[in-house]
Amino acid sequence: MTWRRWAIAWCLLPAAVAAQPKPDADWPCVQRYVPEIGAAALWPEVPGGDWQGVPEVAALVGRIAPRPVEAEQGVAAIRDFSAPLDAAARRRLLPLAFLGLMDETNRQRDGVIDQIRRFARRQRDLAERVRALEAELRTAPAATHDELERRRFFAAKTYGDAERTLHYACEVPVRLEGRLGAYARALQAAMPQD
């Protein structure tokens, strides 16, 4: 792109910037930050009700919501839960089970997102420290050079090592969402066909 074309583009930018959402400095993932999983993203109509007030639903949620439970195990538990229920009980209990699983997944997801944000802030601090040490190195007397270089090396290494884990950390909310989706589909499949 020529300088003239860039100049035109940048002249046009302020109007667009005003209309664009502000970047979130504490969110380091390529996936856009979404505050919570909404019910309507996985269920045709937004269900309501107190899932914690229904002991059998709360028990199912307690069994399959914890993070170590694999989607396949949870889906099998949903099938077992639904099998003995008649149509009316399914209509009443399965949407409540979805609500409970969604609430628990969102709670776990909030915790993961907090960790990712803390990670991003720590990385930003580390990057600043590396920059500061580099600036210091440029003017430092020879006697302190080796020590400064050693500190810069370890700060940069810590930053680089952590950065490589970022991709995996950002996939955790996606995996939680994927498992909740599998649960929602299993619950939907068990709903009576009207």
Partner: protein, 325 residues
């Protein structure tokens, strides 16, 4: 004397008829971003009949004009793989520039326009000679590629610069830069060639741009009760067969929006699989196929009934989809 078919002859005839039916069924191709494969599905049975190993991180896929080849943007391998749609093997590798994400084929069937996400370039590749014809500098993180039906203009969207760049296909020069919503992902021309649509993933909007003066003449926003607005991330677009409706994928909202093209009203929000990326119309225009990157499936939408009828498991993180009649 009446002619009676012998059993072997009858079986042969039945076989020929069945083969004939099979040959008429369309073929659906899906790129699986995390599997490095293309899933090939029979359009009639919706079964995966082939899985083709390709380069790393395949996303954008385009059929050749005659349907004999599938061009696959293998982003992490920095190339475009050419898959023979009869033998289902990679038969050639085309140069593409760095990190090809999406591509669009010129109506001449030779020039493939490839968006290089890492290099801020659009690379023009001659698919017959296998050479790079031109590199066109554009904005930061180019992705969407849309060719006007007459082949005069190529529209590229740049995700970070938030612009649609209109390129004169003849000269390869940018003739207009149009500001659109944040992180524009895809550009699609109306079949009449008078306007094109751009989807903005973070802006959560569509922009409609006129080819008369390259100005934004309309915008569409989406809202879904019970879904945070941040989750509504428009990316893929496809027209209905009569171009009266525009289908738009909304990412982690797990919905496909149905937009009336004339009034720009959102008519429906169909619940599909998770993290819906792209979509394609069946050859007869009766169905839509969507790729769902988190639930690892393809949703099938009956357009007349406006209902999702099937979910078909494919590979890991399905992204692109095309239909070969």
């Amino acid at each position: 004397m009446p002619r009676i078919l012998t059993l072997p002859a009858a079986l042969l005839l039945a076989g020929a008829l069945l083969a004939g039916n099979g040959a008429r069924a369309e073929t659906i191709m899906v790129s699986n971003e995390k599997d490095n494969t293309i899933s090939v599905l029979d359009g009639e049975t919706l079964k995966v009949v082939q899985t083709v190993k390709v380069g790393e991180r395949p996303r954008g896929i385009v059929l050749s004009k005659d349907g004999r080849f599938l061009y696959v943007c293998a982003g992490d391998s920095d190339r475009v793989d050419v898959v023979d749609t009869t033998s289902w093997k990679v038969v050639r590798r085309l140069p593409s520039g760095s990190d090809p994400e999406r591509a669009a084929l010129h109506p001449d069937g030779r020039r493939l326009y490839v968006a290089n996400e890492d290099d801020n370039l659009v690379t023009v590749v001659d698919v017959e000679r296998g050479v790079v014809l031109q590199e066109i500098p554009v904005g930061v993180e180019p992705e969407g590629m849309g060719l006007s039906p007459d082949g005069r203009y190529v529209v590229n969207t740049s995700e970070t610069t938030n612009m649609a760049h209109v390129i004169d296909a003849g000269s390869g020069k940018i003739i207009a830069n149009v500001l659109v919503g944040a992180r524009p992902r895809y550009a699609l021309w109306q079949p009449d060639g008078k306007r094109f649509w751009v989807s903005s993933e973070i802006g959560g909007t569509l922009s409609l741009i006129s080819a008369d003066d390259w100005k934004v003449v309309g915008q569409v926003s989406f809202s879904i009760p019970g879904v945070p607005r941040e989750a509504i991330q428009p990316v893929g677009m496809a027209f209905s067969a009569d171009a009266s409706k525009l289908f738009v994928t909304l990412g982690p909202a797990n919905r496909v929006a149905v937009v009336d093209v004339a009034t720009r009203e959102v008519q429906r929000m169909l619940l599909v699989g998770q993290r819906v990326w792209n979509l394609a119309l069946s050859a007869d225009g009766s169905k839509l196929y969507t790729t769902n990157g988190v639930s690892n499936d393809l949703s099938v939408v009956d357009i007349e009934a406006m209902r999702v009828t099937r979910s078909v498991p494919v590979g890991q993180a399905p992204w692109g989809v095309v239909v070969k009649p």
